[in-house]
């Protein structure tokens, strides 16, 4: 079953020693040689910024590209709740193994043991690093770091900086990056978007980028390219991702031969502010940390639901005994802190049964009244003040008085570019880190683990492993951007842009993107089935035709043109959407965020099929209009015993 294309490079030896042994065995590049080598990093979120800064410190010549006016705008900034680390500061018997185990289990046994163990191992260094950079983590009165709990864990291991942990960690990495920019070891290209990857002799040697301000198409060469461009959740149009987050860099790599792994694994976050209307552009996440103190419920009686929808009663008027705290009922051991996929499906189950509490029928309550009674308003406000304020600004409802309404929304994509243990893709010299790769979260990511992974990859993994490849490139001169491969790729990029421009159809980009989003949410969303997925594949094909014949992009291509940016990204989202549906159709099991209705237990829990699907599905691009080829990387569990996830007892 093993596939030649997929050499995972997982080192031998006991799990706990793999990373140490691997580090000892891989090649390093001398300081004098590092100065000769160039690395391109796409994206400046936690992964990209930390990698670029660390590589710059090591002496490499780094170029970073981001689509915003500053590296600090990357969407890592929006992560609220926290970052996990196996520090065991709380003396609650946490350990590297426990974090590893929770992550593997939370990912529903679809991630690589070795990668996850390494992640848990370096998680501790991340906290130390961030503290040294001046990240103002929450402290207790004795001056020690404070922790909170997150979903899928029974220990307190989440470090946080109020409700802005992602922001603070990113500012730390961005500061480290700024230090290198000032030193000259990193060169920053802001408002630049990578439009294509350039391969020379099968190796990643550079990119074609568009200067978003001037529309100029630029060539940039390097000895290695690192993709840290984040996830592709915006394929759903409405998601918690930033408006400009996109999967285009990843798709370009895919089209050049990098395999794309587990595209169907997308995480639906249970606590988002529900959709209010057609004109909505964006879904806002309410941090998972709220589930520490908030209790999720819907009314027990359908009559109460009717009254709520008609606004005849307020939620706070429904007495305690008439409320169905369905997570506490179904999962007594974890209660409101079950993993995200479980909480999301449970909300969908209640809403499908007709208990949705707002006009659209797609909302449940997240209630703080018990916590306010127990701890007082002041404590709650200290913990979640900014989130409560944000909620009130958006909805005009005061969450101190009435419960929040929440509903699941697309949040994170576990799938991504396939990488080996060194984080290298199937293209030599092309690396992928953070959310852009597929490696660590399996079928579902635990809360506060995305920040952990981005920084682990950027600070502590890639700077080591990239040396193993670059050690073989020290004799290679600087990449010549006049090479015919650059000519060819640049020509293709220009043709593509011109083509999109010249369609001059009738539909604005957003209208088409919304159509894609509706297909995805309906058929490739929280619950999927064979019929729906086949329908989705057909609809996406139709939509692709529609896009390439009817999209309307105004303005000119030689200037700042946001519609053009969106159109180019949408073309790629259509590809990703198709790949997601294809992968979801192939994976005839329910697992983590991927729920196939055909595969569920009697009480509606996911039913994995370890016998047939304990593998990473990696897809190879076979050309336009061709069905991609599936490669399977078997998941071998040497340490963990595969079991059914149980959050009930």
């Amino acid at each position: 079953m093993s596939d030649n294309k997929l050499q995972s490079q997982i080192p031998d030896g006991p799990l706990a020693e793999k990373w140490t042994r691997h580090k000892a065995n891989i090649k390093v590049v001398s300081p004098a040689n590092k100065r000769k080598l160039e690395i391109i990093v796409i994206g400046t979120g936690l992964g990209g910024a930390s990698a670029a800064a660390s590589l710059g410190e090591l002496g490499y010549n780094v170029k970073i590209f981001c689509i915003s006016d500053s590296p600090r705008r990357a969407h890592s900034i929006a992560a609220q709740g926290g970052i996990n680390a196996a520090k065991n500061y709380q003396n609650d018997n946490d350990s590297v193994y426990r974090l590893f185990y929770d992550t593997i289990k939370g990912g529903d046994y679809r991630s690589r043991e070795a990668n996850v163990y390494r992640l848990a191992e370096v998680s501790r260094n991340i906290i130390d690093q961030c503290v040294a950079q001046g990240v103002p983590f929450a402290r207790d009165y004795g001056g020690m770091l404070d922790n909170r709990s997150f979903g899928g864990a029974q220990v307190s291991r989440t470090f946080y900086a109020r409700g802005q942990t992602g922001q603070q960690l990113l500012l730390g990495a961005y500061a480290a990056l700024n230090r290198q920019i000032a030193k000259g070891s990193v060169k920053s290209y802001t408002r630049h978007e990578m439009l294509d990857l350039v391969l020379i002799d099968g190796k990643a040697k550079g990119i074609i980028a568009r200067n978003l301000e001037t529309g100029e198409i630029e060539r940039h060469g390097a000895h290695a390219v690192v993709i840290a461009s984040g996830g592709y959740g915006n394929v759903f149009f409405l998601s918690t991702n930033a408006m400009n987050s996109n999967g285009s860099a990843a798709i370009q790599c895919y089209k050049h031969g990098a395999l794309f792994a587990n595209p169907c694994f997308a995480q639906i976050h249970p606590t988002c502010i529900p959709v209010h209307g057609d004109q909505q552009s964006k879904l806002t996440l309410m941090s998972e940390s709220l589930r520490n103190d908030g209790r999720i419920w819907v009314p027990k009686n359908i009559e109460d639901v009717e009254k709520l929808r008609k606004k005849q009663i307020k939620p706070s008027q429904i007495p305690e005994e008439e409320r169905d705290y369905y997570l506490e009922r179904r999962y007594p051991a974890f209660g409101n802190l079950v993993p995200r996929d479980v909480a999301s499906r449970a909300a969908k189950e209640r809403c499908d049964a007709g208990f949705g509490v707002n006009e659209t029928g797609l909302a449940v309550f997240l209630d703080f009244s018990t916590a306010i009674q127990r701890l007082g308003k002041k404590v709650i406000s200290e913990r979640y003040g900014n989130l409560f304020q944000m909620y009130e600004k958006i909805t005009d409802v005061d969450p101190y008085k009435e419960p929040m309404t929440i509903y699941p929304a697309i949040h994170y994509t576990m799938g991504g570019i396939w990488v080996d243990y060194n984080l290298m893709t199937t293209i030599p010299g092309l690396y992928s880190i953070g959310e852009a790769n597929f490696s660590d979260h399996g079928g579902n990511r635990l809360g506060a683990s995305a920040l952990m992974q981005g920084l682990a990859d950027g600070y502590f993994v890639l700077p080591y492993t990239i040396g193993n490849y670059l050690a073989g490139e020290i004799q290679t001169p600087k990449t010549d951007t006049n090479h015919e491969a650059f000519d060819k790729t640049e020509k293709e990029v220009k043709e593509k842009i011109n083509k999109i421009f010249n369609i001059k159809g009738k539909q604005p980009v957003d209208a088409l993107h919304k159509k894609l989003g509706r297909i995805m949410w309906e058929y490739v969303g929280m619950a999927r089935n064979e019929k729906g997925l086949k329908k989705a594949l057909e609809s996406i094909k139709e939509l692709r035709k529609e896009f390439w014949s009817d999209v309307l992009v105004p303005g000119e291509n030689t200037e700042f043109n946001q519609e053009l940016e969106k159109a180019v990204r949408l073309a790629d989202f259509i590809e990703i959407g198709e790949l997601m549906a294809l992968d979801a159709l192939n994976r005839k099991e329910s697992c983590g965020g991927h729920f196939r209705e055909e595969m569920q237990t009697e009480d509606g829990e996911t039913k994995r099929d370890d016998k047939n699907f304990s593998y990473v599905a990696a897809w190879e691009y076979k050309g336009e209009g061709e069905t991609p080829q599936l490669h399977k990387e078997p998941l071998v569990y040497e340490t963990v015993h595969l079991s059914t996830r149980n959050y009930k007892d």
């Binding site: 705008r73 604005p508 309307l552």
Partner: protein, 247 residues
């Protein structure tokens, strides 16, 4: 709800801009301000006109990308919000809404309402960091940090770098932005070590880039979406003057 919009249009940095008038109808009061602009752009595109360029990204008030000066206020008529968090319920039906880009010599207009805030990056590059390399740092709990200090550091670190302080200051001063970074790091033992160098370097860069000086009008604090206090400016002044007097 219906609105009359008066929006600054400017093709690029070199061309001269002007105001254009638009009307928009049937907007729900629950619509966010940027969604209202999305609707306008949709109309413009469908009628063969160029959409209004404006910066935005996360749309949840944290990336600092959105930057509109609405009816004489940075981020519009609400407190402690970014433009993306502003909702149309804050306006009255039939209002005329004037939308301008941030105005500052240090923030050149890219197009319409889009400006570049590279100047902020440059200030931070001049010293807004702690000089530690990856690896080789002590345990996170090795150096205790008092809760009050950590909290105050976090208060300052909440800055999202949107530039509302500069946009709203009558002097186009970046003191709140600079002080937030200086103060946040100065409050932590890790950041104290190079505090003097940092304050001097960042102020010098700020001056060099053409930002104005602070005259303590407190407008920045009032329009800051994260309500960052001017007490941080006092700390910056203190840090800077002490550092300079020791030179």
């Amino acid at each position: 709800m219906n609105f009359k919009l008066k929006i600054w249009r400017q093709k690029n940095n070199k061309s001269k801009g002007r105001f254009e008038n638009y009307t928009i109808e049937n907007v729900s009061s629950d619509t966010s301000f940027l969604e209202m602009l999305d609707i306008l752009n949709d109309q413009l595109i469908c009628t063969g006109q160029e959409p209004v360029a404006f910066d935005h990204d996360c749309r949840e008030g944290i990336c600092g990308m959105c930057s509109l000066y609405i009816n004489g206020r940075a981020h519009g008529p609400d407190d402690e919000v970014t433009t993306c968090q502003l909702h149309m319920r804050k306006f009255k039906d039939g209002d005329t809404i004037t939308i301008e880009p941030w105005r500052s010599g240090a923030f050149p207009v890219v197009k319409d309402l889009v400006v570049n805030r590279y100047a902020f990056d440059q200030i931070l590059q001049s010293g807004g960091f702690i000089s530690v390399n990856t690896g080789g740092v002590p345990d996170g709990n090795a150096i205790p940090v008092g809760k009050e200090d950590a909290d105050e550091s976090m208060d300052a670190a909440a800055c999202i770098g949107c530039g509302a302080c500069v946009a709203t200051c009558k002097n186009g001063s970046a003191m709140l932005f600079v002080s937030a970074r200086v103060s946040s790091l100065a409050k932590l033992p890790q950041g104290k070590i190079e505090a003097k160098r940092r304050a001097k370097a960042m102020v010098a860069k700020m001056d060099e880039l053409g930002f104005g000086g602070c005259t303590n009008t407190q407008a920045c604090e009032a329009e800051c979406p994260k309500a960052i206090s001017i007490s941080h400016i006092a700390r910056l002044n203190r840090e800077f003057l002490c550092a300079k007097l020791q030179d």
